[in-house]
């Protein structure tokens, strides 16, 4: 997958690149409006991450221009503003997703994958992890061809794990992914464990290996040795 990251902050850029590099993505970057404009006009990307506030112009302007030449490119807006009007404007301009700072890298990664999946219309809506197959179109999960009956939250969870294979995902990260800001109001994150326990049980019952590994009791890792 070829990515363009439009972000003026060097550290943030490094974070994103370090995390995504491990997935074997080709990451290009632009630190200001001019470079961003040149790149989106000259090359095609699978997904472009756009920070709204960049030197020399607005990320929304880049989005507008990108959509005029390459409307099929997946786009995710990164904004510090949790402003509704910016969100609406961005999505109206054709952005596929909108993520607010401070975001979590696994979350960003999951969204990049989701956006990319949506934009690939060649039957790639099925994610395979060895014997497990996740159909993102019908939201069905099968193990060796046998359907596994999952709750919506459990489906979200397996998809999130599959998107962030071999990364440590903390309970907090998982909780935020599944419940968003509602998590703020819970002091006890034990319910994450409940969901994972149920998911693990269902997958194992269907004949899958146990990929979900506990990490020091802090978080979890979806450990897959041989990448498909």
């Amino acid at each position: 997958m070829k990515l363009l990251i439009i972000e003026d902050n060097e550290d943030l850029l490094q974070n994103i690149r370090t995390y995504l590099k491990r997935e074997g993505y080709i990451c290009e970057f632009a630190r200001d409006y001019r470079v961003a404009f040149d790149k989106v006009m000259s090359y095609t990307y699978d997904v472009v991450l756009i920070d709204i506030m960049i030197p020399g112009g607005s990320g929304l302007q880049v989005l507008r221009e990108l959509k005029s030449v390459n409307p099929q490119t997946g786009t995710i807006i990164i904004s510090a503003k949790n402003a509704l009007d910016d969100k609406v404007k961005g999505l109206e301009l054709g952005a596929d997703d909108y993520i607010t700072k401070p975001f979590q890298l696994p979350e960003l990664h999951a969204r990049i994958k989701a956006v990319n999946r949506r934009n690939q219309r060649d039957g790639r809506e099925i994610i395979n992890v060895n014997e497990i197959a996740i159909n993102t179109d019908t939201m069905e999960v099968t193990v060796n061809g046998t359907a596994v009956d999952l709750t919506p939250k459990e489906y979200d969870l397996i998809l999130y794990f599959a998107s962030n294979k071999n990364h440590v995902l903390s309970k907090q990260t998982i909780a935020e992914h599944l419940w968003g800001d509602y998590v703020d109001h819970l002091t006890n994150l034990d319910f994450v464990y409940q969901h994972i326990k149920n998911l693990r049980k269902k997958l194992e019952k269907a004949g899958a290996q146990n990929y979900i590994e506990s990490v020091y009791g802090i978080g979890y890792k979806f450990k897959v040795n041989n990448r498909p």
Binding site: D11, N15, A83, T100, P102, H167, H185, L186, I218
Partner: protein, 425 residues
């Protein structure tokens, strides 16, 4: 009271006072004039009698014949008396009116050819009552005309003269800082109004500018804070990918939580600023019944996880005129509060009616002054990982929509009550 009415009222009060004093003075002036006139007439008469006596006229016979004035007394005195004139008021019996009437009596001693005479004449004075009556009548007429005049002038003044003033007032009322349009001064023919209009323009310009700055500052502050937080968060995530001991993991996790809290704090403050800046004024018809029903469903999992029981008593089709985002924030904050500050296996009670929303939850009593409950950063429950802005945000929304909010604790139940039409209670 309208300015013009006040003006007319003051004018009329002053008129009444002036007319009162004027009437009092008029009474004495008129009375004095009339009395003087009578006095001079009597003096004149005495002079004439003296003159006639000097000419040798004999009044006695004529007087006896009754052809003369009955009120004229001429007496010849046995001895010579120095000439003297005495003027005094007396009461004289009036036959026809059958009562005593005030009279003026002028008596004089005159000497004509060595004989002294006592000449006296008297006559009825114009009665005080009559003068008073006349004066009051005149004053009432004047007052009546003044009232008509004042109201007439008032209408003209308020209609024509104050037109620019009323226009300016209307424009100030319509002024909305979010439009970011200052009230431009309109030229009028009255200097004071021009001054006012120019002042209003200057002031609104400044307000608009300050508002812009404030808004920008709030947004920038939030933005500037979120980026470094984002970086730190990312770095910590990358750190968890490296080989860490469980202890190190715990430190990372704690840092993550603090960052999350910091980020939420800045977001909440930005939200509070936005509400205070009146950025959510576009009101819409919001179905509160649906809002509550949907959100209780969204929270179902948390309710279950916390072992809570929710009882609802919702009136159907309750609509409010409010910005949809604010309605959502208000309700979500109220509900989350009820979940967060609850006890193990606690309960939540929600009552929605056309004019009020009440949410109660079981919980420990607060060990703080409940009057400051809605103040920023006042946390009742220090053990809970909250930032202390939730109730401030609720109060801000309540304020902006002219609702009323109150808190009560009774028998282990915390109750927050929001009344939608407090003025009608």
């Amino acid at each position: 009271m309208k300015l013009i009415n006040k003006f007319i009222l003051i004018y009329l009060v002053v008129t009444v006072i002036v007319l009162g004093i004027g009437g009092y003075i008029s009474f004495f002036v008129i009375k004095g004039e009339l009395d003087n006139e009578l006095k001079w007439r009597f003096m004149d008469r005495i002079d004439r009698v003296t003159y006639l006596l000097e000419k040798g006229k004999d009044f006695k016979s004529e007087k006896l014949k009754g052809s003369g004035d009955r009120n004229l007394i001429i007496q010849q005195l046995p001895q010579k008396v120095a000439p003297e004139t005495v003027i005094k008021d007396t009461m004289v019996w009036h036959d026809r009116l059958q009562q005593m009437e005030p009279n003026l009596k002028v008596s004089a001693y005159r000497t004509v050819e060595d004989t002294s005479y006592f000449i006296s004449t008297y006559g009825a004075l114009v009665e005080t009552d009559d003068i008073t009556e006349a004066v009051i009548q005149i004053l009432l007429w004047i007052l009546g005309l003044q009232v008509i005049g004042a109201i007439g002038v008032g209408f003209i003044v308020s209609g024509r003269l104050f037109k620019p003033f009323r226009e300016t007032l209307a424009r100030i009322k319509r002024f909305n800082i979010q439009d970011r349009e200052p009230i431009l001064a309109k030229e009028t023919s009255v200097e004071e109004f021009n001054d006012l209009n120019r002042f209003v323009e200057e002031m609104t310009r400044k307000a608009v500018k300050d508002y812009k700055n404030l808004k920008e500052f709030a947004e920038n502050a939030s933005h500037e804070l979120q980026t470094p937080l984002s970086i730190t968060k990312g770095k910590l995530e990358l750190l968890t990918e490296t080989d860490l001991t469980p202890e190190q993991y715990q430190y990372v996790e704690a840092s993550q939580r603090s960052i999350k809290k910091l980020s939420r704090l800045s977001e909440s403050l930005a939200l509070l600023t936005k509400i205070e800046n009146h950025e959510f004024t576009n009101k819409d018809k919001v179905n509160v019944t649906n809002l509550i029903r949907e959100s209780t469903q969204a929270f179902e999992e948390f309710i279950k996880l916390n072992g809570l029981q929710v009882e609802t008593d919702l009136e159907e089709e309750v609509f409010l005129q409010i910005h949809p985002v604010l309605a959502d924030i208000m309700w979500t904050n109220l509900f989350q509060n009820a979940i967060k500050h609850n006890i193990e296996n606690g309960r939540i009670r929600i009552t929605l009616a056309n004019d009020r929303l009440e949410i109660s939850n079981t919980g420990k009593p607060l060990d703080m002054d409940t009057n400051v409950l809605f103040k920023r950063f006042k946390k009742a429950d220090h053990g809970v990982d909250s930032i202390g802005l939730g109730l401030s945000i609720i109060e801000q929304i309540v304020d902006q929509n002219n609702y009323a909010i109150s808190y009560d604790y009774e028998d282990g139940w915390h109750t927050i009550n929001v009344r939608f039409h407090p003025e009608s209670v």
